[in-house]
């Protein structure tokens, strides 16, 4: 046992109180998607809290106050780290916690603490290196950010200051650089043109929003990314910033004002909000689609950002669509497994969580899972292929674009 001390400055005063508010009732365990697949106690919210409470107790508990701190058990710290990084940060535990412990930010604070203690998956250092040096989480040249637009008849306008762009589309790393997700920005570009909404993209000037670093517990590195991105959008004179990625959306809307200590001065929208608005204004005409569709709430759009109804309204506005809810939906929706950077550390676990979600969709007879997140699409599609489950996953933008094309525009 070493004499290691842990730093608690990543936690808020209230979060440290929340450690004491946990009654160890275990309700969270029943709802934890990763624990359901990998029965490692360290993953459970209850155990994560217990671990930190024990670490704190060995330094600041009754006996530690009387006889001096005991130091932290490295083995236990390692176990805690594994549990903390096997969490998808879906936040379902918060929605069922009888004492309303705000779990997701608590898990982030734990990861910050673990990074400060040097106990985190090695892959996270690589991700940090890629993002900080290449400004995207794949480590590709950032000049490739417009690869998705390569085969469009009319490529999007790339804003160059002082050029003005009222609506700026922040494409995000996954949609920009993973070929499997290219059709999402392609679809949104098509929809915006169909609705006569002038827009532009940032191209190579778009840097990773920093979300993968923030959720890895490396938020300090996200500041420079936030500064760059916000300055770039301001220089473009954008009034509205649109994202198709719920994590980028959350980062822009909630985290940037917080870490920069200033309001952005422009509106941040997720694509489903914009689609909802365009449909409400009658600016999009949708053709018929005969599909049985269910909707998968992305964690960062639903539980983290509180957007549940806009995507459902958008889907229900498509003629011919039969819409069913899965067993777990809205704030109780099951995670697809693709969040929390778990994919980088434990891809098999992600696949297992995604499989369970696919089975829920199969249960209601859906042929299509609609979602509003490129990562959910990747995760669910990948698992469907691997598990040979005959369900297709599409982003809402893809479905709406097809409906727009069906309308003959």
């Amino acid at each position: 046992m070493s004499a290691r001390r842990l730093d608690y400055s990543a936690f808020s005063f209230q979060q440290l109180m929340e450690l004491d508010a946990c009654t160890r009732c275990g309700e969270c365990i029943l709802w934890c998607p990763t624990y359901a697949e990998k029965e490692d106690e360290a993953i459970t919210p209850l155990k994560k809290i217990e671990h930190v409470r024990r670490f704190a107790g060995s330094e600041y508990g009754f006996l530690a106050r009387l006889f001096g701190p005991r130091g932290i058990d490295e083995g236990e710290l390692h176990k805690h780290s594994q549990g903390a990084y096997d969490c998808t940060l879906c936040g379902r535990c918060h929605t069922v916690c009888p004492v309303h412990i705000d779990t997701r930010p608590l898990w982030l604070a734990m990861r910050e603490q673990l990074v400060a203690a040097g106990h985190f998956p090695a892959i996270m250092s690589e991700v940090r290196e890629r993002i900080v040096t290449q400004h995207n989480n794949l480590g590709e040249s950032n000049a490739n950010r417009l690869a998705w637009a390569g085969n469009l008849e009319e490529p999007p306008r790339v804003v160059e200051p002082p050029a003005q762009a009222e609506v700026l589309y922040f494409v995000g790393c996954v949609s920009s650089l993973y070929p499997m997700a290219y059709s999402i920005p392609q679809s949104l570009a098509g929809i915006l043109r169909a609705a006569a909404v002038p827009f532009a993209v940032m191209g190579a000037d778009e840097w990773c929003c920093g979300f993968p670093l923030i959720i890895a517990g490396m938020s300090a590195e996200a500041h420079a990314l936030a500064r760059h991105n916000v300055d770039a959008v301001r220089a473009a004179g954008a009034k509205r910033l649109v994202t198709t990625c719920p994590s980028c959306y959350h980062t822009w809307r909630e985290i940037y004002p917080d870490i920069l200590g200033e309001s952005l001065g422009f509106e941040v929208l997720h694509a489903v909000e914009l689609l909802d608005e365009l449909l409400d204004d009658g600016r999009l005409r949708l053709g018929e689609m005969q599909q049985v569709v269910t909707y998968h709430d992305p964690c960062d759009l639903g539980r983290t950002s509180g957007i549940y109804e806009a995507p459902r309204r958008v889907l229900r506005s498509i003629p011919g669509i039969t819409f069913y809810e899965m067993r777990d939906h809205h704030d109780r929706a099951l995670c697809c497994g693709g969040g929390g950077d778990v994919e980088m550390a434990d891809p098999e676990l992600v696949n297992m969580v995604a499989r369970r979600r696919l089975l829920q969709a199969e249960e209601v007879g859906a042929g299509v899972i609609a979602t509003a997140c490129q990562q959910c699409k990747r995760t669910l599609s990948g698992a469907a292929r691997k598990e040979k489950i005959r369900i297709r996953t599409f982003d809402i933008t893809e479905i709406i674009w097809e409906a727009v094309q069906n309308a003959g525009l």
């Binding site: 608690y8 400055s9 808020s12 005063f13 109180m17 009732c25 309700e27 004492v99 309303h100």
Partner: protein, 277 residues
Amino acid sequence: MLADRLTVFWISIGITFLLFLPLLGWKIDFWSHGFVRDAHGRRVERGKVRAMLQNAVAAIRRNGFGHVASVFILDGLLHRRLWAVDRFRWLSHFLMLVGFLALFALSVITGFFEEILHGFFGVEGPAVEFITNKNTPLMAVLNESFGLLILIGLLLVLVRRFILRPAQLRTAALDVSTLVLLALIMLTSYPTEAFRLLMENTPPNMAWYSFLGYPLALLLRPLNWNWAIWHYWTFMLHIAACIALALYLPFSKFFHVFISPIIATANALRDEQEAHA
């Protein structure tokens, strides 16, 4: 020669209170390692507890006292989320909560009348007699009833944890130690009352208001023990368990009694605010 029972009681309470404060102080000192933001979102480096209190006052003003109070009752005390997911657990929690709060309130009122008004200021009169006399029907019934709520709640907790054993439940030393102390408090409470009734030879028409203590006294009476001694030691054991729980409280699971209602209220209000944003 045994020390006067009530003298021991009040000295113990005084020491407990004196020790409890620094223990709580240690706890708050640990929480202060965390950051606090002021109303403008800036991190506060000094005076974190004051800033937290200011934030709490601001939240009450923003939401309105009535609304905060209703959220405190529904989410902080009655845990409506728990009602939605597990009625059995909700009931056991509810019984223990109501029993404890009511007994605590009753003890404070009795202590005030007995020790402050009567003992310190020498106030006499029917109201003082009504409150301080343990054989007053209403006081006897209330004490017994609230104790019974805790007892039933505790039994339900024990049944759930050790017999039903739902999959999500994890039992560790932390849980057992708290339950042992609670059980000790409850197991010494009714015998203490029974021994008091036997010691004072309370007439049946008055004693029956102690509807659990008196039947127990009737069961024990044939033993013909020295009831004064038994009453003294069960009372001491009861008080010792209460004091142990109070001192262990800031470092035990039972601390959630204080913290959970605050956290549940604060976060429920914030969730509401975000949902309406």
